[in-house]
Symmetry: none
């Protein structure tokens, strides 16, 4: 159906590709502050002028490179026929684990500070960052809502606020401390915020935390 994008010079496609990759590698290696177009050029063997032909400026290149990172977790394992499949709460766990893992060493994580600073100055970067985080969190909100619908969570849970309380710690740890959030802690986090049992602790029952009526 897409007869539109035909006749793109394959050299262009190729150039854009390798430059993007090199830009990401460069970003992850030396960071936003010391990111130079020269280095990218040298790294991938594409002339500086060519880079500037394809992207208006350094920031646009960075923003574009980031786009290629925007890989959200898939819809989860396709359940075998007849199997019960993934419950909404399972999905919440999976999404958060994925998020924690992403922030534990990926290129994306390495570029995160650059992204945040870039977002403050450049609309394109900002758009990307907001879109990215919105997409991720939307999926989480949806999973929480589904869990509520499914009766796994109480109806009084504010799905949006809960998604913040679940995502927040992972970003916080990446950005404000020297240690990323350990994916293994996701179970405890979910248990704390959503009041479910912490399966990772192997506890088979739930203690109602609120000792008194508050």
């Amino acid at each position: 159906m897409t007869t539109s994008d035909d006749h793109v010079d394959p050299r262009i496609t190729r150039s854009r590709q390798v430059v993007r990759q090199a830009a990401l590698a460069e970003l992850a290696e030396v960071g936003y502050g010391r990111f130079t177009v020269d280095s990218v050029s040298a790294r991938c063997g594409v002339a500086r002028s060519t880079i500037y032909r394809h992207w208006p400026d350094k920031l646009a290149l960075i923003a574009d490179a980031f786009e290629t990172l925007n890989v959200q977790p898939g819809p989860g394992p396709r359940p075998a026929d007849g199997s019960p499949g993934e419950s909404p709460l399972d999905r919440v766990h999976r999404l958060l684990r994925h998020l924690a893992e992403v922030f534990q060493g990926s290129i994306f994580s390495a570029c995160m500070p650059a992204l945040i600073e870039g977002a403050e100055r450049d609309a394109e970067v900002r758009d990307f960052l907001h879109r990215y985080s919105h997409q991720r969190r939307s999926a989480l909100v949806a999973a929480i809502a589904a869990a509520i619908d499914a009766g796994e969570l109480g109806a009084d849970v504010d799905a949006d606020l809960a998604s913040l309380a679940l995502s927040g710690p992972i970003i916080y740890r990446r950005v404000m401390t020297g240690e990323p959030f350990d994916p293994a802690q996701v179970g405890s986090l979910v248990a704390l915020v959503l009041g479910t049992a912490d399966e990772s602790q192997g506890a088979g029952f739930t203690v109602s935390r609120r000792t008194s009526g508050g």
Copy 2:
């Protein structure tokens, strides 16, 4: 103890002061990426060479300027004699509200992205950021622990994890979205994470959320 003989040339004190202020203003205005020693110099009327006499380079200046921002919330209102004073849980609310307010328009908040990016490149900036967030969160953890001790919270609450789930959303909103966290939402957040009633909602009773054992 004697205030003697730490005679610092008043010119130095004065220079350091005005430059730091100008640096902060500059950072908040144009950000880390476009921060220029020349601009700071022009802004405060102190010669570039003088700035370099006091700070080895741009980054050191930025890091130092940030230090002046490190204003933690005070110990809370001094209770009137005989009054019951602030409960640990009250203190949790207050700390979080303060955090949310800081991230809602202060210079510090404006410099946050710069800080985060700077932390990635410069050990001094990193130290400051980590120290800053550690101090804040320590206070929060202490307050939560006190609440547990006081029986306001269940003993099974992981104070550290809870503090992340409480602070995280505020940082998340500042850094990953266009909208900072509304301080008015702090009550709901605390209620969600710590399972207390949301006083800000005026609800007089607490519904135990955990409908089932999950």
Copy 3:
């Protein structure tokens, strides 16, 4: 030999050209001590960074600029057929007159003090200066030797020493006094040093000084 493939970007040629000119003008105007790359840049409209792209530093630029000054006197007038042409002694006169004229207001003369001081600090400048003076004086020595061979001068004349006694006064006057050597005095000088009659004094006969008696 083939004029091929020494294709130099015309922009480079042009830049080097105008910068060199401006550098000379600047040198002549403000001298070595106050010579500024900025001023050269402003004078010729070539950016400072471009200048530094072509010369590693200020001194190299100065040395290079001087090279363009290295214009030695030509081989003298081509004698008309049948005419006797220039005698060796005539050539001595001509060379000295040229030297005196050069040191009387040319750019080269203006740059002389700069050159001398520069030579003391920088090998490249030194090389140029020594090479320059050597070339000039060699020509003079050759002419004197030819005059000896032609019997115009006595065989006991030390050509090298004589060339110094002839060139020296011209340099001396430029460098140690406020008044350059008057080219009109060249005749007297030659007469004094080489013992020839001073033709500029209208003396009608030549006493071949030391032809005998050696």
Copy 4:
């Protein structure tokens, strides 16, 4: 009469003295171009501010330091009673030998290029240089004139021009070549220019060159 020099604070005298010495040493060592007030200060232990208290600027210091170098050769050996003493021509030789020696490694010689360049820019330095060379050359001219009067030289010798032809080579060699003028060559030079026999060559008789012919 000399109530003038009374009561100069010995600290001042001492400061001026050591600074001048240090300035000369510095000049001789690193030259005019890299001459630094800081270095002088460090070298002699006198504070920079003190130096600027005594000299208005760097050039004045340099010029003043040079003054201390202005040591002309003495009037020559006092003849023993009854001895014939120094002939005028002897004195010419002695003056030139002294000049050649000065230009062969003295501090003055080391500072020469700086002087020449400085003279081009600064009136004070210029005055000193011209005065210095004038004094020296006046003595030479006087000696030559005396030799003429004494009949050692022909009356047709232009004393001024001759002094240039004698001094010039020494300056030339210092300033335009890598090798200073060898004092041993002074005899040959005088013989060449003044037409006397070169005593250094062991010639036993003097041909009074141009006694006639005027």
